[in-house]
């Protein structure tokens, strides 16, 4: 599966990672090679096989809707790159 430069740029935009020109070419070659190795999966007969999203059967776990203590706001904001008046500070989302 040979990826194009545009494929890589599209995926990088979806993943929100800025890439240099060198990285675009390096990832294009490396990801193409890796996907080539994975092509054999297409030949596996999976008709009628259910996908496994999880190794164990999962049941929904419920609890009473009781309010429990959460982390103090100051503790949560202590690792924030920028905080102001008890909030995370970000650049404008809407221009």
């Amino acid at each position: 599966m040979a990826l194009t430069r545009d494929d890589v740029l599209h995926v990088a935009r979806l993943a929100r990672i800025a890439l240099s020109d060198d990285e675009v070419e390096r990832f294009r070659a490396q990801l193409s090679g890796i996907l080539d190795h994975f092509a054999a999966l297409a030949a596996v007969d999976t008709d009628g096989v259910e996908p496994t999203a999880h190794p164990l059967p999962l049941a929904n776990v419920m609890r009473d809707d009781v309010i429990e203590p959460s982390l103090p706001r100051d503790d949560v904001l202590a690792n924030a790159p920028l905080a102001e008046d008890g909030y995370f500070r970000v650049r404008a989302v809407l221009e």
């Binding site: 990826l3 494929d7 890589v8 599209h10 995926v11 990088a12 979806l14 993943a15 929100r16 990672i17 800025a18 890439l19 990285e23 990832f27 490396q30 990801l31 090679g33 890796i34 996907l35 190795h37 994975f38 054999a40 999966l41 297409a42 596996v44 999976t46 096989v49 259910e50 996908p51 496994t52 999203a53 999880h54 190794p55 164990l56 999962l58 776990v61 609890r63 982390l71 503790d75 949560v76 202590a78 690792n79 924030a80 790159p81 920028l82 995370f88 970000v90 650049r91 404008a92 989302v93 221009e95």
Partner: protein, 487 residues
């Protein structure tokens, strides 16, 4: 008493219990060892010497009061993706270089409750992505058996720390082999528990349907003791098993006469080093001499697809889990660009290393419109087939035995620019991970002077059985407490 760092955890426990030495003396011995070898090995990202001595004093008080457990006062290493309140936790990434967690993980809570002593946070491949611990933002860890070689990964710091005497036991995490492979390459015992045996609360997520915390130690009894401590139900992780934990040390010392051992032939592929194959053959002969029934004609035909299945599913889950690193809530942040989206793209470009970017891109591609069915959904279906083949095998066999890694430790830099060659290191550990099964790696000899690991895979929640088989082998072979021969 200066060589206390050479003891296994259970030997140290006996010494502490008999008042032959104190936890402070034991901890000081380990810290002196760290000071001597750490400049070469780089097994730790953050050392917590003062905290360790404080915890050792608390442990001595518990020992004096008669309230000690088998881990009270024992120096441990903790992989740096396990959250520790007030102690920097980086996941080996620049992205979390200055992150101080505001809470403790479940497993660290349990270690603290048991009275263990934390020496530091162990080096690792960034976000647990790698097989050599070269993908760490804090420099590579080196193999104590030969510092020119890798220790394996991603828990290479944990395995190297145990092998070099920089702690007595350690916690690692395994997504596709990240406990077993470094344990093998460093000559230690590493156990990846059944998915759901150990709570992932407070573990920095990589592949959520695969990640599992587990122990690395110098012998089987030590890893059983560690798993006894950290395993069990946790209401904060709904995927943990609600059944009570069995007493795993109860399985140690039982003989293995009549145990049925299957040896899947698909694991003996071209590319495996002759020295590795020879040690596994010798181990199988030893099992037979102990009365086990060994069948070498087992077939798990979909084994060859496990690598592709893993390297589609794990990066897909990683691409979702690592979306949280946006430079807003915590971690590295680049604010040089004028817009929010550009800030986010620059934060992730500068905060993540190459392997992490590669896997996020791979996962994003596999989940993207037009490719979801061909890659992600297909991989999930083949995962079902792999699990079914294991289930059929466990109707006939108690455990499966394979090599842990096709090679012994390889030179630093040898595979770092060839991602697929690096991925092949995990070819024997991936199938059990994909199926969520428990598996242990134990040392089974040497090839060219370097340790070889043997993997024992068990059925779901059958850790007791694999510990029984591993312990019987260890006692008969004498391969235990293999400290690397460095000064």
């Amino acid at each position: 008493m200066s060589d206390l760092w050479k003891l296994t955890a259970h030997e140290a426990h006996e010494g502490l219990r008999r008042r032959e030495f104190t936890s402070v003396e034991l901890t000081e011995s380990v810290l002196e060892r760290v000071a001597r070898v750490e400049p070469t090995i780089n097994a730790y990202i953050t050392l917590t010497a003062e905290l360790a001595l404080e915890q050792a004093r608390e442990a001595d008080a518990k020992l004096a009061a008669g309230t000690a457990t088998p881990l009270t006062g024992i120096p441990v290493g903790v992989k740096d993706l396990i959250i520790t309140k007030g102690v920097r936790t980086t996941a080996g990434s620049k992205m979390l270089e200055n992150f101080i967690p505001p809470y403790d993980s479940h497993v660290y809570e349990n270690l603290r409750r048991a009275g263990a002593v934390m020496i530091g946070k162990c080096n690792m491949d960034e976000f647990a992505m790698g097989s050599s611990t070269e993908h760490s933002a804090f420099g590579p860890t080196r193999n104590p058996w030969n510092p020119e070689l890798v220790p394996g990964g991603s828990s290479g710091g944990s395995a190297a720390a145990v092998a070099a005497g920089e702690c007595l036991v350690a916690l690692g995490s395994d997504t596709g082999g990240s406990i077993r492979q470094p344990a093998a390459l460093c000559g230690q015992v590493g156990l990846d528990p059944t998915y759901g045996r150990v709570s992932r609360y407070g573990i920095i997520a990589f592949g959520s349907s695969l990640d599992q915390v587990g122990p690395i130690g110098r012998d089987v009894e030590d890893v059983a003791t560690m798993l006894d401590c950290i395993g069990g139900h946790d209401p904060r992780d709904s995927t943990t098993n609600p059944e009570p934990m069995p007493d795993l040390r109860h399985y140690l010392g039982r003989d293995i006469r009549g145990i049925r051992i299957g040896v899947p032939k698909e694991y003996f592929i071209s590319g495996m080093e002759p020295g590795v194959a020879a040690r596994i053959e010798e181990a199988l002969a030893l099992f037979e001499s102990l009365g086990a029934v060994v069948d070498r004609e087992v077939s798990l035909p979909s084994t060859e697809h496990a690598l592709a299945v893993y390297y589609i599913i794990a990066p897909s889950e990683a691409s979702a889990n690592l979306a949280r690193y946006d430079g807003v809530k915590y971690g590295f942040s680049d604010r040089s660009a004028p817009t929010m989206w550009e800030n986010m793209e620059q934060t992730r470009a500068k905060g993540f290393g190459n392997e992490v970017k590669r896997r996020i891109m791979l996962g994003t591609y596999a989940l993207s419109a037009g490719y979801y069915d061909a890659y992600y959904l297909k991989a999930q279906k083949v995962r079902t087939i792999i699990s079914r083949e294991f289930a059929e095998a466990f109707e006939k066999y108690d455990v499966l035995v394979t090599p842990t890694s096709p090679t012994v430790a390889f030179p630093l830099g040898a595979k770092v620019d060839d991602p697929f060659a690096m991925y092949l290191n995990d070819i024997y550990t991936l199938p059990a991970s994909v199926a969520g099964l428990p598996a242990i790696s134990v040392p089974c000899g040497f090839s060219d002077g370097l340790p070889v690991g043997m993997q024992i895979i068990g059925n779901f929640f059958d850790e007791g059985r694999i510990l029984q088989v591993a312990h019987a082998f260890e006692q008969a072979s004498g391969y235990r407490n293999l400290l690397a021969p460095m000064q």
